[in-house]
Amino acid sequence: MAFLSEAPLELGPLMAEVQAPDRGGVACFVGTVRDHHAGRGVIGLAYSAYAEMAETECERIVAEAEGRWPVRVALRHRLGELSVGEAAVAIAVASAHREEAFAACRWVIEELKRRVPIWKRERYADGTEAWVDPSAQGGTASLRGGKPG
């Protein structure tokens, strides 16, 4: 379980993993839990995963990025219960040249969203909950609690 973490994410150790004296540029991305989604107040959420596949898919993404650009990539995704403001995902990409670090960092977050089997169940200020479906109209697939499923 190298890429998934039940503990809060910290960018510092990820940067330390990828930095080296010959890699002078580090591009990073941290995605945190927002306080709203599709017009509704969010008070927290839970991430779950198909862990074996998620680990495998993250490993593939890192290997593909490192094959495509001269970069080193570190990546973590949080699982479990998160509060607003907590980091859900953290990425650090180091390279000798910043253009490549930015390009690879950007690519890694897009691939992660597209390929890694992780799901998000949001809890709302009105007491309801929903599985988030980024592809759906309104952004959620189902409701629980105050509204019918």
Binding site: G31, Y50, M53, E57, A88, V89, I118, W131, P134
Partner: protein
């Protein structure tokens, strides 16, 4: 469901909303060889009716890799049915 020697044993796994609505995390199926992912899904809908939450063409992973519905399956495969991904 067949039980002859040419039957493929496939474990179907459910996650997130699918697991919640189906009420279980996995079912073990047997399908006649040769079979594709689509054949496994058809057998699942026949053998396990509360799987209506699974759309006609769900995102599927066979042994940890996303595959199309036309992908052949083999004995012992794990087929995961993935609700819309929401990581990141």
């Amino acid at each position: 469901m067949t039980t002859d020697s040419a039957a493929l044993r496939i474990r179907v796994r459910f996650f997130a909303r699918f697991a919640e609505v189906v009420g279980r995390e996995a079912i073990d199926l047997r399908v006649a060889a040769p079979a594709t992912v689509a054949d496994v899904l058809a057998e699942m809908r026949r053998a396990c009716p509360p799987t209506d939450v699974v759309p006609a063409k769900p995102l599927c992973a066979r042994n940890l890799s996303q595959v199309s519905l036309e992908e052949p399956v083999a004995d012992g495969d794990e087929l995961a049915l993935l609700p819309p991904l929401a990581g990141g």
